[in-house]
Symmetry: C2
Subunit: 376 residues, 2 copies
Amino acid sequence: MNCVDSSEIFRSESPCLTETVISQPSWALVLETREEACVLKAVGYRENLPITAEDALIDVEIPMPTPKSRELLVSVKAVSVNPVDVKVRMGVSPKAGDVKILGWDAVGIVKDVGKDVTLFREGDEVFYAGSITKPGTNCEVHLVDERIVGLKPRSLSAAQAAALPLTTITAWELLFDRLGVRPGKRPDTGSLLIIGGAGGVGSMLIQLARRLTGLTVIATASRPETAAWCTDLGAHHVIDHTKPLGQELKRISISNVEFVASLQATDKHLPTIVQILKPQGKFAVIDDPPTLDINPLNEKSISVHWEYMFTRPLFETEDMIAQHNLLNEVASLLDAGVLRTTLRQHFGRLNAANLKKAHALIESGRTIGKIVLEGF
Amino acid sequence: MNCVDSSEIFRSESPCLTETVISQPSWALVLETREEACVLKAVGYRENLPITAEDALIDVEIPMPTPKSRELLVSVKAVSVNPVDVKVRMGVSPKAGDVKILGWDAVGIVKDVGKDVTLFREGDEVFYAGSITKPGTNCEVHLVDERIVGLKPRSLSAAQAAALPLTTITAWELLFDRLGVRPGKRPDTGSLLIIGGAGGVGSMLIQLARRLTGLTVIATASRPETAAWCTDLGAHHVIDHTKPLGQELKRISISNVEFVASLQATDKHLPTIVQILKPQGKFAVIDDPPTLDINPLNEKSISVHWEYMFTRPLFETEDMIAQHNLLNEVASLLDAGVLRTTLRQHFGRLNAANLKKAHALIESGRTIGKIVLEGF
């Protein structure tokens, strides 16, 4: 922020705000009446460029936003980086002259609330992923609908908590809302194969399935360090997805599985997935295969479940508050020591230079757990 | 049967059986020791021909089979014709010289049982669809695993009951096992769109959804007589699938639906299905689109559920007996007047000439309800 220290920005004596505007009801009006708008540090892009390009991501300044209806105004402390950031950076063009702000994970402090907010108040520490339809969290201050926000787990640092929301929502919705697995050790006693266990979603899915259900958890990983990470998070078995998965399952004396969570390279693995799923099995997908022809799943009456964690905020579904509830439940489980953070790498302050390093690592496909950036 | 009247075939004094073989434990041995094998009337085909060809279906005679393990030997009284008969006749080639017997619906009387049978005994009247891996029911006598057989509804004639098993199993599994709708008027209060309401599966699915669940049932039909049939079976609304389905839904003041059962022309309707399904909706499919690319369902986190009623017998799943249970439950509901038969046309005795007329009508795509043949 170019006009005030970040710790000061919400005090009425902030140099951003002149005497004449303190009585104005909203930040928008404040900005209109100032000679020079109060601006915030952010990282974004103007055009779709490879991550090696100088301007693939740029430091920018944006005006202070105003919370409306059920929105919270959050002072962002830490963010994490997800594959969706890379996809949007490469595939979504801002309008000419505009800057698009990425980032769909944040930890921060509520600084102001819209008039219809009931779940939070100023000073609450929160964590959330946000909505793909809104500007991202890579900014000092961010607006988010309260129904998709949870209270930050108290026992975790800002960076440890920032690693979690997007992947946790994805893993939770995939396991309980899409595949329909019931929490509890008894109800489901089959096996879940997680293809791509060491990534962000896999790292949380392994934990949820192992700690909260009765499933046997099989994760795939192809390197010693990713295999060790999956085992450490609770996978009963780790198999190698660079080898034929059917053979790998036989090696651990499992002939077929009730559930598959395909988190990466679904098109490559599809024929094997059809083979190893039991008749009437369930198959969840989160990645972006060019096409996904499910005719081969007919004979076994298999169901295919898309999990896209932005569906609820994107369509503002009636059950959108499920994300608030699940984030709060996961925060309790983290504080109780049942689950743990998937943070692996802290890339320093949030600026274009550091964020470019994070994007480059995501693009390599070799990320383990999550990458976080903290402070401005 | 060329050696005995069909009412006589199971008496030991049958002329099929000589004195020397009455003490033999199985029909197989009986057949081996006879000068001329006891043969049964059946209808089948030797090569894949259009239904207008003279030999598209032929009258043949086959030897008496023997029930093993959990098999029942059933004297077939009536059968129905399903689209699967046409698909197999057109697409599956018998080995050179062999005759393939079609037919996956029967009503009959149990005449003999394998040594491990526990659910039925001689004299039981039964109805069932059978297994796609076994010879079909278009034969005087048929073998079937007891776990996929139900007791024939007492209040229905053989023809009325023969109309039901395959389509009832499909509709029941689709609604309760695949889409996961819970029986009872309260739990689910959304809408189910049935594309192709007047066919065999649609005719039973309308009834199950209307009578046993709390769903609003919308069926599609394109002709006055099919629309009237759907309404008569219990559909709350009937819309026309030859018009844009989104517009048709608006006409009945429904903007979108929680469940779609696509029973025909799924590839044609797919773009509209994506539009009209609610986010997180469920989509069941039973037909044979050339390909089924489900990428467009990603954004709404929609799940796609194949229902193939032969999955359980084909893979001999652990829960194969679910088909026995559901057929018995449906028989009770039929006898109680909650459900009714979907029989519309009786095509006379089961022979090649009559069966060819039935196949031709199925191929026209204009069948309403079910076609049955009865007696030999």
